[in-house]
Subunit: 326 residues, 2 copies
């Protein structure tokens, strides 16, 4: 791989001139410019980004910290972030924390040491650490962080309300919410919104882990202990598990039991019957987070600190058609 000095030699100019041509900065004569361009082509010269980073203190790297890319909520988010980053000439570094505080800290340290230009974090350690003290710009995604850190979430409270209203409107009378880990604020909001509207129709409110196996257990527990005809699951994976357990037990969906999920991941349309769900605009959330981050990186001030996007219900087949409530 050739260097700028070699290019300079071939083009018979100084390195400064080569640099000027490359960055289109400062005065360069037409003659010098073509000579340099010619030399660059001849040597297949591409500037060393590491060297450039060192001087400019800008690496063109964005760190994306997620709990686990394997959780089907995150690939779409990651994709959105990567697309937006790519459009602006950034690359993204993927980090999985498994929700472990220590891994998260390790990654942040590494990323800082390699001078990433910014960080997008979806994390739980909302309060503990010193995000505000970090020198790099940060945007929080799907989780709300303390302080002056911009965040992007969707309106979970409204989502919960919409879910309850939808079930009620479609003839469900005994409602259950299978919530996620209640230490997560975003999850609590969904549940609270649901319970607010469900009111006296609420039969039970139980908790489930996010992963499928755990949700299977929660669903079994639910059916063992309660009777209901409308379930709101805190995410689509839990909803899928609930559907599976219901199918095993011969409970007809949506006739005997209606189920509504949350998230709007692709999984929802792949299962049978296809899942009615409260869809977050996942891709847009990732996109917005990346956009905000890039704006901060480029020094623009950001207006609102907290961005909350709307959710919408996607009606599929785990709920009854309107007018057929029976």
């Amino acid at each position: 791989m050739s260097t700028i000095r070699e290019v300079a030699k071939v083009a018979n100019v100084s390195v400064a001139t080569v640099s000027r041509v490359m960055n289109e900065k400062g005065y360069v004569s037409e003659k010098a410019r073509t000579a340099v361009l010619q030399a660059i082509k001849q040597l297949d010269y591409r500037p060393n980004r590491v060297a450039r980073s060192l001087f400019q203190k800008r690496s063109g790297l964005i760190g994306l910290i997620v709990p686990d890319i394997t959780n089907p909520f995150f690939p779409q988010l990651a994709r959105a972030v990567e697309d937006m980053a790519h459009q602006h000439g950034f690359q993204v570094i993927l980090c999985n924390t498994d929700e472990q505080f220590q891994k998260e800290q390790e990654y942040i340290q590494s990323l800082e040491a390699m001078h990433v230009d910014g960080l997008i974090i979806t994390t739980n350690y909302s309060n503990n650490p010193n995000y505000e003290e970090l020198e790099v710009p940060i945007v929080a995604l799907d989780r709300v962080l303390q302080g002056a850190i911009p965040t992007v979430t969707s309106n979970g409270h409204d989502g919960g309300k919409k879910a309850a209203q939808f079930l009620l409107d479609h003839g469900a009378t005994e409602l259950v919410v299978i919530s996620g880990p209640s230490k997560l604020p975003t999850i609590r909001k969904r549940r609270d919104g649901f319970e607010e509207i469900a009111g006296k129709h609420l039969v039970a409110s139980i908790e489930s882990p996010f992963h499928f196996q755990g949700a299977l257990g929660a669903a079994n527990y639910l059916f063992d202990h309660y009777d209901c005809n409308g379930i709101f699951a805190a995410n689509d994976v839990i909803a899928a598990a609930t559907i599976q357990v219901a199918a095993e037990r011969g409970i007809a969906i949506p006739d005997q039991l209606q189920i509504i999920g949350y998230d709007g991941i692709e999984l929802g349309q792949m299962i049978s019957p296809p899942l009615t769900t409260i869809a977050q605009p996942i891709y847009q959330m990732g996109e917005l987070a990346a956009k905000l981050l890039i704006q901060r990186i480029e020094g623009k001030e950001i207006a609102a600190v907290h961005h909350e996007l709307m959710v919408e219900v996607i009606e599929r087949e785990t709920t009854k058609r309107k007018g057929e409530e029976s």
Copy 2:
């Protein structure tokens, strides 16, 4: 952020000594060592990895190029690669090509310019480009590349055979394979293996795109034109679509129709009924690819060039229990 020279000043030694302490290289007196360590702690000094990269020509970065992280096959792969990379002190840069030649080339150029230490590629442009000419070590995952590039795949031919054998053993008599895009060698192998064993029981062999919507169309086409009681889908997403279409049409699974998928992604267990499938060891494949790459990066020669892992059938509920075939 403090620099090595500041540390040197505080510890009252030269930068060389600080560097020696940090890298545990060369002679350092106990006295100097403790002074340096003390200074490092005092200043919360962390070496600038960019500067280190520049000199060492080693960035600690691995590029992972996938078609689309949103395709449920890839998150597990990415996770495995990232885990292994992290264990060895590397970070991974995620790139989505959408199977577009041009995006792939762009990414490779960028990654080269930022001096990634290695590349893991899952790509289709098996023949076209100049992978062999690249200076960075490469490992191909799930796709076979020409030349001396190490590859990691699973035994698709055997997988196809196993699928056919399994359906036959469980009482299916009229078999169909819904294959993926036949330009992909890995996909062709699955189909060929299946057809080899299916023999005269093969009723039809059709092609489907990989994404769910397209697969829905293919499944509808299939049911409109053929009668069969055993289907092999080239991946689990296609299988899920087939199940959904079958459910819509009131075809009982597995009683009237048995379905077997391919891949072994989590989706398979989340759908109803849970999917019998030929599972690739996805995580292990990613892990192995990363391991091989890291070995190459560290200069070790690699024995075998092509690694083919075994697949196994995971029996769930879209196929009949043995002994209950009819």
